[in-house]
Amino acid sequence: MVIYALYGVGALVALSPIAVALGASLRVSRIVYVASLIVTLLLSAIALRCLFGHSSLLGVTLPLGLPWLGAHFRIDALSAFFLAVINLGGAAASLFALGYGEHEHSPQRVLPFYPAYLAGMNLVVLADDAFSFLASWEVMSLSSWALVIAHHQDRENLRAGYVYLLMAGFGTLALLLAFGLLAGAHGGYAFEVMRASHPSAGLAALVLVLALVGAGSKAGVVPLHAWLPLAHPAAPSHVSALMSGVMTKVAVYGFVRIVFDLLGPPAWWWSMLVLAIGGITAVMGVLYALMQHDLKRLLAYHTVENIGIIFIGLGLALAFKAYGMEFAAALALTAGLLHVFNHSVFKSLLFFGAGAVLNATGECDMEHLGGLIHRMPQTAFVFLVGCVAISALPPLNGFVSEWLTFQAILLSPQLSSWGLKLLVPAVGALLALSAALAAACFVKAFGVSFLGRPRTPAAANAHETDGQSLAAMFFLAALCLVAGILPGVFIDALAPVSKALVGVGMPHQGSIDWLTIVPVADSRSSYNGLLVFVFVVLSSSVAAFAIHRLASDKLRRGPAWDCGYPDARPETQYSASSFAQPIRRVYGTLIFRAREIGEMPPPGATSPAKLVVELRDLIWDVAYAPIAVGVGYAAEKLNSLQFLTIRQYLSLVFSALVLLLLVLAVWP
């Protein structure tokens, strides 16, 4: 099985040089995207086959990488699941790119790296030894870096790519150190060797922290998220979708692989660390997102929030695992992993929508959009589906995973540690808060950019996007609905994963009548997306039918009422920032030092009044700016060593000699 997967990856890798050789043209881009579409579809088929039990756990070892070790590759349940996530996202992205890529003005900077990027992500989850893992990890980062700076004339993109590359290198080094600890001095880099070796408690804790830093920096965990909202929007939209929807999940895979699989039994306090970080990440991410008015950047920040939710699930799973409560652990882990899948689906969908808008209007700034629902109704519809899904509203899929997470939280009183007893409810409150804020955020995103009246000619003259893009988006939207109303199937699919990682899987859902999901016990809690969906559809249509039949269905178009204000200009609509104003007042003053400076022109002056909103990113100010300043300072100071005279250099040599001789003189 794994060997076929490797063939597929090989095909992807082979695509890059082909793309380089053929040069950049419309035909080539079609070739590349169609080929990657086919390969990713095949790979996802393989992944699903492995996931549903037909997988042989045998790995293969290729004579590559470290010579005495070779490159080990293997598909177990975990990697199969993530393989499926990656390649579903990849397939959707390739399909979308078939249409979207035609508008790419510098394809020669996109086409060669796109397949390599897909290949890198696939290899990460296939790898079964530290070297191949890290190498593929870096290839993934590197190719995505190249894609981020594809439009390099824009200095902002270059800066984004720079920050991204540095953070990626930082994360890789952290993982490298973690693996170095796990491997020991004799270099047992193969994963099965690491599983066999049981590090001491202190060492294991260090590994956990390093893994959290390494994988977290890639996943965008606060405060290591700084690169994410810069880099994700900078790339072409289908790549942004892959980076946000898929690559962050690969990072989550790295964390799960190390902490749940390689590291052995957890200590109870690890989960506190993970939970705290997850909760903070969730709330901070969505608050950042609310403050944005660039559509793609808003989506990128929202990825941070969802990563937080996922880490909350993982943290709960760690806690339960540490106390040997397998079933609760299985529930929490399943919740987290299900959210991994869900988020990959609707985040890709939303980024596609943003890309379609970008193509149609050349704008991603919501302040310049509006009224797109009239010009591009289908895009608006799928985007709306994505918004509902990501806002965790029933009956779509986002709600299911958050609901499961809540159920897991409700099991936490059985944990016997005080720290967790106090932390978990707080995390639950944070989770609820982030869910509510997410809804607010996407009311803003959809309402400001798609509803209302066009704010610029560009928005007024937008055109519906092309067929392939729409196909990709409708596919994902359908997936959102299916996963929302038939969650049992997906939960059962995840059972082998949790069985492998925490010992047991969740109770089998497929056998429950009415397709209800019952995480723990029938009396405790249950949810049936299908019924809710059917009920809502039925009752709404009944109401519509009844009213239209029994009462009037007459309709007249007229000017907006608006409390009688005549023909208000589009500028009077609520803009993105004014929509966020109440929430900014509530949360922003504390977290962003948000300040609103109103400038009133003097009486008689014709200049318009201005309202300037100042936001400070405190995390950047506190954590990143000092480092940059420090490096700059050190470089400046050391740089004077470049400008000494020969005599001074000689005296350097001289003093080094004298120093060493002194060392010898005092040597025992």
């Binding site: 509203l393 809804a439 608006d562 966020a580």
Partner: protein, 318 residues
Amino acid sequence: MALIRDFAFQGAQMLLVLLLAPLLTGFVRKVKARLLRRQGPPLLQPYRDLIRLTRKEVVLAESASWLFRVIPYIVFAGTWVAASLVPTFRGGLLFSWSADLIAIIALLGSARFFLALAGLDVGTSFGGIGSSREVMIASLAEPAMLMVVFTLALVAGSTQLSTMATYMLSSDVGLRVSLGLALFALIMVAIAENARIPIDNPATHLELTMVHEAMVLEYSGRHLALIDLSSELKLLLYISVIGCLFVPWGMAMPPPSPQGVAIGVGSYAVKLAVGGVLLAVFETSIAKMRVFRVPAFLGAALMLGLLATLLLFVSRSL
């Protein structure tokens, strides 16, 4: 046979909430008017309004999209389904397991989500004011509500409303501090969610103070009727949730005996009446607060909920 009966009960429940909702609103209005020594509109006025509205033609703004026309039905359906899943006079509804309390809250959340979108759809400034304030309020109210749910769920060991009600009926609940806190928080949330004084004033049309009304400003005719009906349903729902969770006495439990059902209906009516009177009294005795005082109000609710949960964790561990 039993299945059919259960179907019947479920249907009855759906119709009951649908029919009672306007009456409750009218009742509250009436009581308020009396407290203000006014005659006040007749009890059945809300029904008349609804019928009148449905007969009128809809005047739709030019800039309104298809979504604007769909939303009333979605909002109505969501609220109705949520309301019909709350045990009112009889526990153990047929479909109660299809959505637990969290899901019900989420359903209301979806309704609000779409309503807020409707506020933005026409592209007027007032709609914007309404939706932005609405989501701000919701962003605090929903977590508070969920904290309440946590408390109750931890006490009852379930998020299933019927199960919770059964547990509350059982003797081993006792009097708990956290339950009191939770009740308090729940009432605050209910006031906020139903746009009652002091958060919002359903009667006003003074622009700058509107929240809910501003959102639905552009609606007319049948659309407006549906919106009003769903807000009335929402009020009913909250009162019945409070009733079913904190004063579940008299609720008929399966297997139902005719007199049990009768008692259930009667007690339910009483609960609604009491709730309505209390609401009216509260509303008349307090003044509306500034919009930016609302966060403090709801933040307090959230804190209460969290406190209740924490106390519960602590007491559990003793």
